[in-house]
């Protein structure tokens, strides 16, 4: 008879759930994690990670075609879509195994199936009824299955799924979500991407690099609407140079699906037109997985389709916690992981600090990359700050020029009164690896002075971060 009693039960083994499980185990809790489909969740199997593998293939392909710019020659550059996808799946598979290994190492019990919270302290697990997205990594060995489990603390980390817009319902063949877009059987000739958030833009960037005719439709008046407008415009211009077409302030009102093509009716400023493409990717955001968990019966408080927590993961019901996408935006893996750690440390009674939602960075891995943290210029102005804004272009950075990547900008926004860094926004090569410097600066509350006094290594792209800060205070050197 298996032991069905735990200290902590975690529902969902995505990045939020499994990190919470490991931290809980480190703190001495007896932990079980319930998963119905893939260890590592969307991020590792169908999101962050496999897209980065696809985009890496696209990037190398792009550079190979640019070989002459670097004094090299490469002839007959082609690709095998199946192999590109296979590599991406391989990367996910390897990390999936890795999560399994980490959970085992930390003695976290895996329970396979679908969970329902029947009452505080009790979870009933049934066999997975959901149609599992294929390919599925092998189900780990030594898991427990259907049954009733108890734990004082139940953490809901069930994540999110693609938002379905009426009329744009994905069909798996012509209209894709990120699941199908991740594993194309072959490259379509043309593609319509609905939504220009991180997911939409990354797929647009990938398919465009692989030679597909890509059109992106965005209902808002800027691409990547959450980003700083100036940065978005630079990214858009660069993506347009590569051949991506953008239709902003535009709505998809109808999809007419034929055998191998789709005719989309677009509407902008009262005018409508049609566009015929091979495939459509619906990337209009994600919605939290709050259904069939027994939450309504328990009276767990929800707002806008997400579970409400108190900054420490606690819901309104004692003993029930929610972290990650299911607990509201920003729906990002790193937010989920951090929220999970805070949650479990608070349960343990450690001196945990509530989530600083204003300091969560965001990264988009299109080419050029976009990364940001804090307030955009527009939001900072709206918040009433008197601003000092610094900008430094890639054009004036030695390393960027040497790399052959001289397009981009680093923008910093300071509160003029106190010198507090309130926003940093970047577009250009490798900026997703740079942003953490500013995240750290914000978290440690450095002022412009410390950023100016820090030695940045030469020659690096990071030098632009300091130059941007110098520029905000009228002291830029290389401009």
């Amino acid at each position: 008879m298996a032991d069905n009693n735990f200290d902590v039960l975690i529902i969902g083994a995505g990045p939020g759930g499994y990190v919470t499980a490991i931290r809980a185990a480190q703190l001495g809790f007896k932990v079980a994690i319930i998963e119905r489909e893939h260890l590592g969740g969307i991020c590792l199997n169908w999101g962050c990670i496999p897209t980065k593998a696809l985009l890496r293939s696209a990037e190398i392909y792009h550079y190979m075609k640019q070989a002459e710019n670097y004094g090299l020659s490469a002839k007959d550059i082609t690709f095998d879509a199946a192999k590109v996808v296979a590599r991406s799946r391989g990367v996910s598979g390897r990390l999936n195994m890795g999560v399994n290994g980490l959970l085992k190492k930390n003695k976290v019990q895996i329970i396979w199936g679908e969970a329902k919270v029947t009452k505080p302290g009790e979870v009933v697990v049934a066999e997975t009824k959901k149609t599992v997205v294929q390919p599925q990594a092998p189900i780990p060995k030594g898991t427990l299955g259907a049954g009733s489990y108890t734990a004082k603390h139940i953490v809901i980390a069930t994540g999110a799924r693609p938002r379905v817009l009426p009329g744009l319902e994905p069909d798996g063949k012509l209209v894709w979500t990120y699941f199908e877009a991740m594993v194309p059987p072959k490259m379509p000739k043309s593609l319509l991407v609905v939504g220009s958030g991180a997911i939409g833009i990354e797929f647009a960037s990938f398919y465009n690099a692989m030679g597909v005719d890509v059109t992106v439709v965005e209902i808002m008046d800027q691409v990547m609407p959450v980003e700083d407008t100036e940065i978005s415009k630079i990214a858009q211009k660069q993506l347009e140079k590569y051949g991506i077409k953008f239709r902003l302030s535009t709505k998809v009102v109808k999809l007419d699906r034929k055998a191998e093509t789709v005719t989309a009716t677009l509407e902008a400023a009262g005018k409508s037109e049609t566009i015929t493409v091979d495939r459509v990717i619906s990337a209009a955001g994600v919605v939290a997985n709050v259904e069939n968990l027994g939450l309504e019966a328990l009276g767990v408080k929800m707002e806008k389709g997400c579970i409400v927590n108190d900054g420490y993961g606690r819901t309104n019901i004692a003993g029930i916690y929610a972290i990650g996408d299911v607990a509201g935006p920003p729906m990002l893996a790193h937010k989920a992981e951090h929220e999970g750690v805070i949650c479990i440390e608070k349960i343990k009674g450690l001196d945990a600090h509530p989530m600083r939602r204003d300091q969560i960075p965001g990264c988009t891995y299109c080419h050029p990359q976009v990364a940001s943290v804090g307030l955009t210029e527009a939001k900072a102005r709206a918040a009433g700050f008197e601003l000092k804004i610094g900008k430094f272009p890639f054009l004036a950075n030695g390393k960027a020029i040497a790399l052959g990547e001289d397009q981009g900008l680093i923008k910093t926004i300071f509160d003029a009164k106190t010198g507090r860094l309130i926003g940093a926004h970047m577009v250009g090569a490798e900026v997703t690896e740079l942003i953490q410097g500013f995240v750290l600066a914000m978290g440690l509350e450095t002022t412009e002075e410390e950023l100016m006094h820090t030695v940045f290594p030469h020659p690096t792209l990071s030098e632009m971060m300091q130059e941007s800060v110098l520029d905000a205070y009228g002291r830029v050197i290389h401009m």
Partner: protein, 411 residues
């Protein structure tokens, strides 16, 4: 470790403050919250409480020194700690030099680098603490391991000057001299009054004009209004005084004659957007002038209630600096002491002050006949650089119109 004693910011715009008096001798024991020293600003003197309990040592600012805000001026050592330990543990701090009147910037630099470096605080928190005159050692940090975050400093700085105590009434000891006379040393308020009024009377060209105002209509209106005051919690919600109505009338006059609502500066004339009226309040040992801001926009009842609150707090020396600094004009009323008329000294940066005498029954000639009337004499002092005679006469006439037709103040 030793607790720093810093010079706090007690005034909105002060960048330095004059340390006027140490209330505790170096080496003496002191308890947290006890009065430690006095600082003096343009307008007032205040006592500052001790931030900790222990022995006062390493005093680096002498009485009379002008000290930058946020600078460490002494330390409070716990039992067993000595100044020597403290200095040795921080060889970077040239404490002896600090005691001398070094360049202010260098002094601040030294103190930040040494004395506060043992306190866990973010750079932004350090900067905000320095700018707001908050001692880092007095802030409870909410960050990891008690690290002081900007929000912690902001929360403390937002509280109205917590370090300023209600300052005791002067307790100067008199020294007998010949013939039974005694010498009473000046307290800070006396010194500030002396300095400011001497400066005003010797640098501002004063010019005086007087007018008699009939009060009968105003007295009747005041009675009617007070009778009609709505009762709240068993008490009338306001009780107007003549002075409240004088404040309102003067504010409206300055609104109507904006050329008189100015301040002289060497470079240009400062035209004020509102009539911010300072009202002299006599308190034990001197006087202070709290300000009714935007008085021309406020109702009589609002002015009345605000004035009551300010006067009460002035007497217990609980005014915040922003409540008595600045302003565009002032009123001094000695009518309640039976004074018929007098001329007041302008309180810079104001360009005018209205001196108000008592309202007395006097014979006045009306339509060729002598009739009894209640009359009040007011005298306007103007800074002739800013307000010329004719302009002064115009604004005074306007004031007289409001006083004699008080119903017009209500619309």
């Amino acid at each position: 470790m030793a607790i720093e004693v810093i010079l706090p910011k007690v005034d909105m715009d002060m960048s330095t403050g004059r340390l006027s008096k140490w209330l505790v001798a170096e080496g003496a024991e002191i308890k947290k919250g006890d009065p430690l020293f006095e600082i003096e600003t343009d307008k007032a003197a205040m006592e500052v409480e001790s931030p900790g309990t222990g022995k006062l040592g390493q005093i680096s600012a002498r009485e009379g020194d002008d000290v930058p805000i946020g600078q460490v001026i002494a330390y409070i050592f716990a039992a067993g700690e000595t100044a020597t330990d403290h200095v040795q543990s921080k060889p970077a701090a040239p404490v002896v030099e600090v005691a001398a009147k070094a360049a202010p910037v260098a002094v601040v630099e030294t103190s930040t680098n040494s004395a506060t470096s043992d306190i866990r605080a973010t750079p932004l928190a350090r900067r905000l603490a320095k700018e707001n005159g908050v001692a880092l050692s007095s802030v409870k940090g909410s960050g990891p391991y008690g690290r002081v975050l900007s929000a912690d400093v902001e929360a403390l700085a937002a509280k109205p000057a917590p370090v300023v105590s209600k300052a005791s009434a002067p307790t100067a000891t008199a020294t007998p001299v010949e013939n039974g006379a005694v010498l009473v040393p000046h307290d800070n308020m006396r010194k500030v009054i002396a300095r400011r009024l001497t400066e005003s009377k010797s640098t501002v060209p004063h010019f005086y004009i007087s007018a008699d105002c009939r009060l009968d209509a105003l007295l009747k209106l005041r009675g009617d209004l007070n009778k009609a005051a709505p009762v709240k919690d068993g008490a009338p919600s306001f009780k107007l005084s003549i002075n409240d109505m004088v404040i309102k009338a003067w504010a409206l006059a300055l609104r109507d004659v904006p050329a008189a609502n100015v301040s002289w500066t060497d470079a240009a004339m400062l035209h004020h957007a509102h009539a911010d009226i300072g009202v002299a309040v006599s308190i034990e040992g001197g006087l202070i002038t709290p300000i009714i801001r935007k008085a021309e926009t406020k109702s009589l009842s609002a002015i009345s209630n605000e004035m009551k609150d300010l006067a009460t707090r002035a007497k217990t020396r609980k005014l915040k600096s922003e409540e008595y600094n600045g302003g565009s004009s002032a009123i001094s009323n000695l009518g309640m002491f039976g004074v018929k008329d007098f001329a007041a000294i302008i309180n810079p940066p104001h360009a005018t002050i209205l001196a108000v005498g008592s309202g007395d029954q006097r014979p006045v000639v009306e339509n060729g006949a002598v009739v009894p009337a209640t009359v009040m004499t007011v005298t306007l002092s103007t800074d002739h650089r800013a307000v010329d005679g004719a302009l002064g006469a115009e604004v005074l006439a306007c004031f007289k119109r409001y006083i004699e037709n008080p119903i017009s103040m209500l619309v």
